[in-house]
Structures are given as C-alpha cells and as structure tokens.
C-alpha cells in the first residue's frame, strides 16, 4: 500500500507540472473515432511543424471527449494559459492554428471551439459550457479526453484507484451494501440491480469464482464501451478489482470484441502497469485479496453478448445460450459461480466507492439512480458519446444535446436491434428503464439512433430483423425460424409485393417469438417490428397499398429522373453511371433510361455536390392514392 501511496504523490506532482507546464503541450484526441477522422496524420504534421520551427513542445494522445462531430480535436496549452480546443482540424487549418497559437502565442479564436481554463478567454467559450456538453453529467466519462489513458500516473493523479483502496478497508459485504444503497443497476441492458447478482454469487458455494467484464459491444450503432475503454482504461479495471473483491473472485476475464484493436492494446498496456504497481496478483496492496485479469478476444458473434453464450465462447465452444436456471452467478464459467458485468457498470463503481453511495443517489431519480452513457448517432446534427442523468427526457437529448435533426424528425431507435423505434409523440418520455419498457422499447446498452424523414421505417425494421436473424445462433425454433419468416415478409413489403394480411402475420409471429425464444436475443428481436407497426402503421400500409416509399429508400418503389429544366448538361453523371443509363451530349439536358438504371445513387450524389451540376436528378416514389 505504501509503495502505491508514494507513487500517487509523484503522479500528482507530475500532473501539476502538466497543469503548470513550462513548454507548450498539444493534446490530440486519438481514440478509434479520432483516428478514423485523421488524428494520426495530424500528429505527424504537428511533429514536423515543431521540428521545423525548432519549438520545444510535447504531444500527448488523449482519448475521446465525446462530441464526435468535432473530430479530429486538437488542444493547445501554452505555459500559464488554459487549454484551448480546436475542432474539425485538417492539415490546412492545422498550419494556421499552430502558427497563430504556438508561434505568435495567440489562440486562433475563429477556429477554436472551447477552452478548459478557470479564467476564461474573452472570445472563446468554456468547453463544458457548449450546448452539447452543458446538459450532460459526466461521471463515467469524467476523465475521457482529459487524461492520457496509457499513463497510469495520469489516472492516479485524478484520484484513480482511490475507490478500490476504500473498498479494501471495508468488508466485501459492506461493499455490496454500498452498491445497493447507491441503487446501481446493470448498464448492459436489462437493468438488473447489481448488488442482487453479487449477493447471489458471494453466497454461492465454491472455492473458485470468476468475474467477467462484458466488453462484447455487439449492438450496431453503439460505441460507448469502446470509447470508455480506450479513453479511461484504468477506470474499468479498477471497477473489476472492486467487483472481484466484493464477490470473492480471484480471476477476472475481459471478454472484448476483436473488432476493437486499440481498446485491446490499451487494456494490455494497463494490465502491465497494474502488475508493476502491485494492483494485480497475490496480496494486492498488502491485503489478502488475490486477483488477476486475463483478456479474451471475441470472434465476431453478436449472441455472445448474452451471458451464457459468452461463457460458452470463453470455454472454447460455439457461443450458444443455454436455458437458465442455473444462473451464472451460481454455475457459470467452468461450472463455477460467475458474475458478468458490463463495462459501464464496472466503470461506475470506482466513482461510487470513492464518493460514497449517498453522493451517487443525488443523480437520476428514484429507482433509476445515476447516469447512463449513450451513443447518439444517425441523422442528428451533433452526434457523439454523451452521458446524462437517468430520467432525462428524450427531447432534451435529441434537441439540446444533439442539436436537433438535419431534416424533420421521424423516429428514434433506443436499445439497438433489440429495442424499439419511438415516434414523435414520445419526445417527452424520460429515459429510464421502466419508461422505455412501457413504450415497447428497452434501454439496452445505450445506442440512440435518430432518424429523419429520409429514413424508411419499413427498411429500418427489416434491417434490424435481418441483423438479428443472421446473428441468431439457431438453437431454438422460435428465433431461428420465426425471425426468418419475418424478414421474408418484410422483404416482400419493401419490394412492393406485400399484402394487407402481412401486417397481422408480422404481429402474430413477433409476439410468438417474444414469448417462446430461449434467450434475450430472440425475446427482443421482434421489438423493432412490433413498435414500428404500432407507431408507423401508415408507412407499412403505404408500401403495401400504394407501392410507395415516402422516404425514397426502397429500391423497387422508386425511380430516378432528370429534371430537364435544371440539368446543365455537365456530363458528370454520365461519367459515374456504371451501367450507361444516362446519355446526352454536353450542354444539353441528359436522358436517363429507367430500364438500364440500377438505382445506385452515384449520379444523384454527383449532381447534388458537384458545383457545375444543377441538382437536377431527383428520386421519386409513387404518389399517395387517397
């Protein structure tokens, strides 16, 4: 314990030096999302710049601070000045920023987005006062984007591992009691009270117990767990220590998707640092708690997010769920009592143990305590990773934080492929476990996908069901055969071959699958269809009766046309058309042969975005018959 305490003193000193830096520091957000936006190229450019200009400066790679629409983000902190953040930096603006801020010592007000200082710059707002961030409460994400996730000293300096050290001074039962008092519910989707699962496992007989961190974030459209692991790796690992101590486990396993290579790399690095500092192994920090953590990479199967399938996968089998009971808390991995907690649940624990249960209950509402992270994506103006108190209305998330929808709002899908699609009338709905369930959706792991009038509801329902059908493990009939049938019906409808009886068939099938399927995947798979049937019935009917797709998405129900008056005859579309469907001499209106057109949208894209073109290509669907 004393060795770590000395290390913490040094870490805090190192952190202070960073705050009172003598040389300029440049922070670059370089989690997977930042990298996809070009952060690594920027780091190279910055390196060349400071070398060419003979400037002594440090470059620190940090994680993701949340607002992905601002990526890549580059922050500059001059000695004695607050850190200033620049958004959507590219290689051109980078040169301007570096010249102004690093060489001339003046922040480039126009290109900046916010600062992190206490005393403000007059013309630049505080970063956390920005409209996207102001309504948020950052507990799980408190360090994301601010510390270097690859440096344990940074984490220690911001009171990292303090929660675990507090836990070590308590009896395991008291740790469980604290989590109970805090009212923490599992953040993986179902919202089962964390303490209850723990109590069962703690009291289960057996020498060997396991703690598994479920980082198999399979929901398409969700990336909260990836971001948290990449940006604040040690917080998740500290949570594992606390959970392991509480339930009496000596072995921890992180089951993580192989699609997240950077997260895996950072976990490996962090585990090594824990080992060096006596935070893993036997007699951790002089106590009699022994714990070690191993990483297991998933191999690409959505169903492995389900507890029993995940266990099967770790055991080296096909990842198929089995019926419960016995629950994993009694007989799980290799038949031993096993607790599986989600990344976010674990990432919350250090905060509860550090600040106390009473502090945590100040957030959220009765029965739904604390905060939840969401990945807010789709047709939204400000997509990104957000954290809000449970009970925040959907409206606040979409419009205040997300900045509204690009065109007219149509629907929001909560809970990924297992969730439901909610219409405009639910905008006042508070986001908590029970309210979402009452609307026919679920909280799920926290994907929020916003759709506007350009999104076809039937197509989206088909997409989700096609996904779950492909990921169905095939063990139980309702899921294997039922989802298949539903996809076939939906396909018919989107091809314009639907019949009115299809709607009833979809509902009957959906409800049967919900009742009959073995695991959570099957039981929730029909949700997208059942909710859209309830809230967007008209769109289904339009597809069936009028052969019309109002969002102009379903290929068999739309056609492409050139508006002669608008066409400038620039030939851009002729060049990109893969089938030679568009013809016409230069400077004259072009001709589009519908029999050759494969509706690939290539011409539509060029015509909209190329300056010489006149936005003359339109996509049309049949008119509504009334």
């Amino acid at each position: 314990m004393n060795k770590l305490k000395e290390k913490i003193v040094l870490a805090k000193k190192k952190w202070e030096e960073l705050e009172n830096n003598r040389e300029p520091i440049i922070f670059v957000g370089a989690a997977s999302c930042g990298r996809a936006a070009g952060a690594l190229e920027l780091i190279n450019e910055i390196g060349t710049f400071i070398k060419d200009h003979n400037i002594k400066a440090r470059i620190i790679q940090v994680g993701c601070i949340g607002p992905c629409y601002l990526e890549p983000l580059v922050d500059i902190k001059l000695p004695g000045e607050p850190r200033v953040s620049y958004n959507n930096v590219n290689t051109k603006t980078l040169q301007v920023i570096l010249k102004s801020h690093l060489i001339e010592g003046k922040p480039h007000v126009k290109l900046s987005i916010g600062h992190f200082g206490k005393d403000r710059y007059k013309d630049i707002p505080h970063f956390f006062e920005l409209p996207m961030l102001k309504p948020q409460v950052r507990i799980v994400l408190r360090n994301c984007g601010l510390i270097d996730p690859e440096d344990i000293d940074h984490y220690l300096a911001v009171d990292g591992y303090q929660g675990f050290m507090n836990a070590l001074t308590m009896k395991p039962d008291d740790v469980i009691a604290t989590v109970r008092q805090a009212g923490l519910r599992g953040r993986g989707g179902a919202g089962f009270p964390t303490f209850r699962k723990w109590t069962v496992c703690r009291n289960a007989p057996g020498e060997q117990k396991y703690l598994i961190c479920n980082a198999d974030e399979g929901d398409p459209g969700a990336f909260m767990n990836r971001s948290l692991i990449e940006s604040d790796t040690h917080a998740v690992l500290e949570g594992m220590l606390i959970a392991g101590y509480a339930i009496g486990a000596s072995k921890g396993i992180i089951y993580i998707r192989a699609e997240y290579p950077l997260a895996i790399e950072r976990l490996k690095n962090a585990l090594q640092q824990m080992r060096e500092n006596g935070l893993l192994g036997n007699n951790i920090l002089g106590s009699n708690f022994n714990f070690d953590i191993k990483i297991k990479e998933g191999a690409g199967a959505f169903v492995c997010g389900e507890e029993t399938a995940l266990i099967g996968s770790i055991e080296g089998k096909r990842g198929m769920p089995r019926s419960r009971p016995p629950f994993p808390a009694i007989a799980g991995l290799f038949g031993c009592p096993t607790i599986i907690n989600n990344v976010e649940t674990l990432g919350t624990l250090p905060n509860i143990l550090r600040n106390g249960a009473e502090w945590y209950t100040r957030y959220g509402k009765e029965g739904n305590r604390g905060t939840k992270t969401f990945s807010l994506v789709g047709k939204i103006r400000r997509p990104g990773l957000i954290e809000v108190q449970l009970g925040t209305p959907l409206k606040e998330i979409i419009f205040d934080i997300g900045g509204g929808v690009q065109k007219n709002f149509k629907a929001i899908q909560t809970g990924g492929p297992s969730g439901g699609c909610l219409s405009e009338e639910f905008l006042e709905l508070p986001v908590d476990y029970e309210s979402l369930a009452s609307a026919g959706s679920i909280m799920g792991s926290g994907g929020l996908i916003v759709m506007d009038e350009d999104t076809c509801i039937v197509d989206v329902a088909k997409y989700f069901l096609d996904f779950t059908q492909k990921e169905s493990c095939g063990k139980c009939v309702p899921c294997r055969v039922g989802t298949r049938h539903m996809v076939e019906i939906l396909e018919r409808i989107t091809h314009g071959e639907g019949v009115p009886e299809d709607l009833l068939a979809l509902r009957t099938l959906g409800e049967t699958i919900k009742k009959g399927a073995l695991c959570g995947l099957g039981q929730t798979a029909p949700n997208p269809v059942l909710t859209t049937l309830r809230y967007f019935r008209n769109e289904y009917i339009e597809h069936i009766k009028d052969r019309r797709c109002r969002a102009t998405v379903c290929k068999d129900l739309i056609e492409f046309r050139v508006i002669k008056e608008k066409c400038t005859g620039c030939q851009s579309c002729v060049r990109v058309c893969p089938t030679g469907a568009i013809t016409g001499p230069r400077s004259e209106p072009h001709n589009l042969d519908p029999t050759k057109c494969i509706k690939c949208r290539s011409c539509y894209e060029v015509c909209r975005y190329e300056a010489i073109a006149g936005d003359a290509i339109v996509i049309r669907s049949a008119e509504k018959k009334s």
Partner: protein, 149 residues
Amino acid sequence: MPENIDSILSQYSRTLDELIPILQDVQSEFGYIGSELVKKISRYLRISENQIYGVASFYAQFRFTAPGRNSIRVCLGTACHVRGGATLLEMLERGLEITCGETTPDGRFDLERVACLGCCALSPVVQINKNIYSRMTVTKLTELLKVYE
C-alpha cells in the same frame, strides 16, 4: 506445411478453452485457417476436426479461404445503414465483380461486411486493411480504391 504452426501451438495449454485463441493466432499468422492447419490443431488439442470446424464456422471472424492482398470491410451497422452503407457495398460488389466474403481472382481485394466498427458518428465507414475511412460516398470510395494495389 508452414513450420511456425508448432511454435504457435506450443504457447498454449492443451485445453478446449484455448481453441478460439489458437484459431485467432493461426489466422493472423497465415491469413486464413487451412485444412492442414486444422489437422494440426486437432492433434494438438486432442479434439476432432469436426469440432474445430463447428466452432470456427460459428464465428464470423474465421475464414477458410485465402484473403486478398487488401481487405475491404464495409460497415453495415445501424448508423452506417441509415447513411448509405449498403449502397457502398453494392457498388463494391459490382465494381470488383465479387460478392461479400469472396476474393477477386487477381487476389487484389477481398470483401466483407462487418456489423459495426464503432465509429458510428462518422458514418458511413469503410475499413481497408487497418485504415478506417469515414464519411464515405460512392465517388470518394472509387478514388480511394486506386491507392491499393
């Protein structure tokens, strides 16, 4: 028969729970899991080849045919779907004249779909080898392919 298969196997104990890590290691070393390699693994772990194929074919990650020099992965996660990921995939299938899961005859590209790369805010996303390209359009992607030989 590649010799380093033995050195891969020797890092693992002979228990069933090592099967998936072994398959992952073998695939990253050889690019795919060939039938000769399955035989070797089967002997090492003392389980049947059938069992290995059973497990390996369950997971999307494993492939049994040689990959191309460049691997294209089109993300079809929800956010990418809503923003036109499927159109990108169709365009690639047409342009490369292969379907998802296949390799071009000249071995230049292989094409696969993935459920989600976790960069949803930058959708639609396409991954080529280790590089992730965000906010893709049909036109941008066509240009991009020329870079990869």
